[in-house]
């Protein structure tokens, strides 16, 4: 918004003569429209990718009929959901029933305000950005409980209760990990956190304090996965146990809103994780940061977030769902002790002058680790092609 305000001020004659509240309101409205478009259209893309990834991972081809390669399938689905009738169950609290999906979507969308897409490309550069993200993402929990309660349905209520238990549990390790980053940077602003990772891939927080921060990243990502109710932590909507969990009774556009919130939240968790650990809008190489005068910051952030979203989908089609007790076990007995240890250890390391910005050997790990990961992915790809060819040969024989 800062950027937009400057742009309008310079290029639009008479903008500075407007009354003060309009000078704030107009850029805010433009930002809002941009973000809401991005957020509303994003899920259409994510759902398409999800169905395709699901298909490919199960040796199928996924949607194919509507549009080229089935690209318009989710558009058709979204349109269908919009025109469907919203059914209110008997005995439902109608006002809460309608309010719940709105609150869930609100919680997901509000987090977008502080995510920095560039040095100045942030809607509101709050100095308590991290805190804001944590606070606002809990709003959707209220929405989930409201949905479960207002539906007047036992499965919905089960789902809501489970989601409350789950999100409360997983918020704690996630916030602990946030705390380590905040201690290293010394600021709660997301943009400050990104600025502290300037200078290429080896400066990213993922590769600082070598054995410690990768563990922190894993914990944060796991907790984030749980917070957006994704497999293997999807017990609030466990479709094989509770019909569809908290959104059992929802139909039509309200159901679409829950869907939209889920996929938006996936993107937000991924974006926050990439801001905290993967250098936000910094390119892996400083040379890739911009092409001529055009900065690629937003592109890099979105790419990183999408990569993490893909990992979420990958996990979804890999892992089975946890039981409720296993879920609590993971949160309280595994993630939380490690996270608390990390807070203490990294806090100590930050206090000590020689390791203020990481271990001395950190610079030797960034590129090799990234290389190993890419090598493994490539190797598995080749192995898959070979395996496939062998299978076809055996089938033909």
């Amino acid at each position: 918004m800062d950027l937009l305000w400057g742009f309008l001020n310079q290029n639009l004659s008479g903008f500075s003569d407007l009354p003060g509240w309009l000078q704030v309101a107009i850029p805010a409205a433009i930002c809002g429209v941009l973000l809401i478009t991005f957020m509303a259209l994003g899920p259409i893309l994510y759902v398409y990718v999800e169905t395709k990834v699901a298909g490919f991972m199960q040796d199928r081809i996924g949607p194919k009929r509507v549009g080229p390669h089935g690209m318009l399938q989710t558009v058709a689905d979204a349109l269908k959901l919009m025109f469907k009738e919203a059914i209110y169950p008997a005995g439902a609290d109608k006002m809460l029933f309608i309010l719940a999906p709105c609150l869930v979507v609100l919680g997901a969308f509000l987090s977008f305000v502080v995510i920095p897409f560039g040095a100045r490309g942030v809607t509101a550069n709050l100095n308590i950005g991290v805190f804001y993200v944590v606070a606002v993402s809990s709003v959707s929990t209220v929405g989930l409980i409201m949905a479960g309660w207002a539906s007047n349905n036992k499965y919905a209520l089960f789902g809501a209760m489970r989601s409350a238990a789950q999100i409360v549990s997983y918020e704690i390790p996630a916030v602990m990990i946030l705390l380590t980053i905040v201690m290293i940077v010394g600021s709660l602003s997301l943009n400050d956190i990104v600025m502290a990772q300037a200078g290429g891939l080896h400066q990213w927080f993922l590769f600082r304090y070598f054995p410690l921060m990768p563990v922190a990243f894993l914990i944060f990502f796991t907790a984030g996965l749980a917070e957006c109710n994704r497999v293997p932590f999807d017990i609030p909507e466990a479709e094989s146990e509770l019909v569809a969990g908290f959104h059992t009774e929802y139909s039509g556009f309200f159901f679409a809103m829950f869907f939209m919130a889920e996929y938006t939240e996936m993107f937000i968790v991924s974006a926050v994780a990439s801001v905290l650990f993967l250098g936000g809008w910094w390119a892996p190489l400083p040379a890739l940061q911009q092409v001529g005068p055009v900065g690629l910051g937003a592109l890099w952030l979105i790419l990183k977030a999408w990569a993490l979203v893909f990992v979420m989908m990958w996990l979804r089609w890999t892992l089975p769902r946890l039981r409720v007790d296993q879920l609590m076990h993971v949160a309280w007995k595994v993630l939380l002790p490690i996270a608390m240890t990390l807070v203490v250890v990294i806090g100590g390391l930050v206090m000590w002058e020689p390791t203020k910005n990481g271990f001395p050997w950190d610079r030797y790990f960034g590129w090799p680790l990234t290389g190993i990961v890419f090598f493994l992915l490539l190797y598995w790809l080749i192995a898959a092609r070979r395996w496939s060819a062998r299978r076809i040969r055996e089938y033909a024989a």
Binding site: F56, M57, I61, L218, L381
Partner: protein
């Protein structure tokens, strides 16, 4: 503590193993068949829609008796001795005029049991499987053709008689039968009347147990030409009550 750590490592490691497998499957050739465009060629013995070659049917009704769901409806009538002799493709003489040969594929359970007893192999299952219909009655296939062209010469003439007697090992089984053909075909000339069920040589044994498939119709067959079937095949509605009774 040691257990905790090893559990932790085991959990992490198994997740990686699973992710490796799914990543590999991302790039494996897909097995999906785009059905309406691509079709799987079925194996030659697949059991799909039934087919009956009317010209080869001798009207013995063994298929109808073998059918566990009674979905084959046959109405036959003894062929008058005045009409020309006809043969199935394997040399079996056809001594019954089959007026109705209907198969209700909506009842069929695709067990293939009807094809085994058929003495002339005229009923068999085809690999044809795309016969979905919006109307259930369109699954009732009428195979009796009023203008069917039957063989009027024996395709496998009987072995020369004077050499050996009937039970000789040299004489092939199908060829032995046509030795008895037309003349004794109607030893007891019973006038076809609505109430009577004339018992014919092949279908006799099961008749008492399951009389449904084979009954005589009141319409006298047309004697002229080489068309064997009666001109009017009874509508399916007339056949339907029979399986419900059985």
């Amino acid at each position: 503590m040691k257990q905790w750590l090893s559990d932790l490592w085991y959990g992490f490691y198994t997740v990686l193993v699973g992710m490796k497998i799914t990543w590999r499957h991302l790039f494996v050739d897909k097995v999906t068949l785009h059905y309406p465009e691509e079709k799987w060629t079925l194996p030659p013995k697949s059991r799909m829609r039934l087919f009956m070659k009317y010209e080869d049917c001798i009207g013995c009704g063994q298929c109808a008796r073998a059918c566990p769901v009674d979905c084959i409806y046959i109405k036959t009538e003894k062929r008058p001795p005045t009409s020309p002799a006809i043969w199935a493709a394997d040399g079996t003489p056809i001594k019954l005029d089959t007026h109705v040969f209907d198969i209700d594929m909506s009842l069929c359970c695709y067990c293939n049991l009807c094809t085994y007893p058929c003495p002339t192999n005229c009923i068999y299952m085809t690999p044809e499987y795309e016969f979905a219909a919006t109307d259930l009655t369109s699954h009732l296939y009428h195979f009796a053709k009023p203008n069917a062209k039957f063989l009027t010469v024996n395709p496998k003439p009987p072995a020369p008689k004077p050499a050996v007697a009937a039970g000789a090992p040299g004489a092939p089984a199908p060829a032995a039968k046509p030795g008895v053909p037309i003349a004794p075909g109607a030893p007891t000339p019973v006038a076809p009347s609505p109430g009577t069920t004339p018992k014919e040589a092949p279908p006799v044994p099961g008749d008492a147990a399951n009389p449904a498939p084979i009954i005589a119709t009141g319409t006298p067959p047309k004697a002229g030409g080489d068309t064997a079937g009666g001109g009017d095949s009874a509508p399916p509605a007339a056949v339907d009550p029979e399986p419900s009774k059985a």
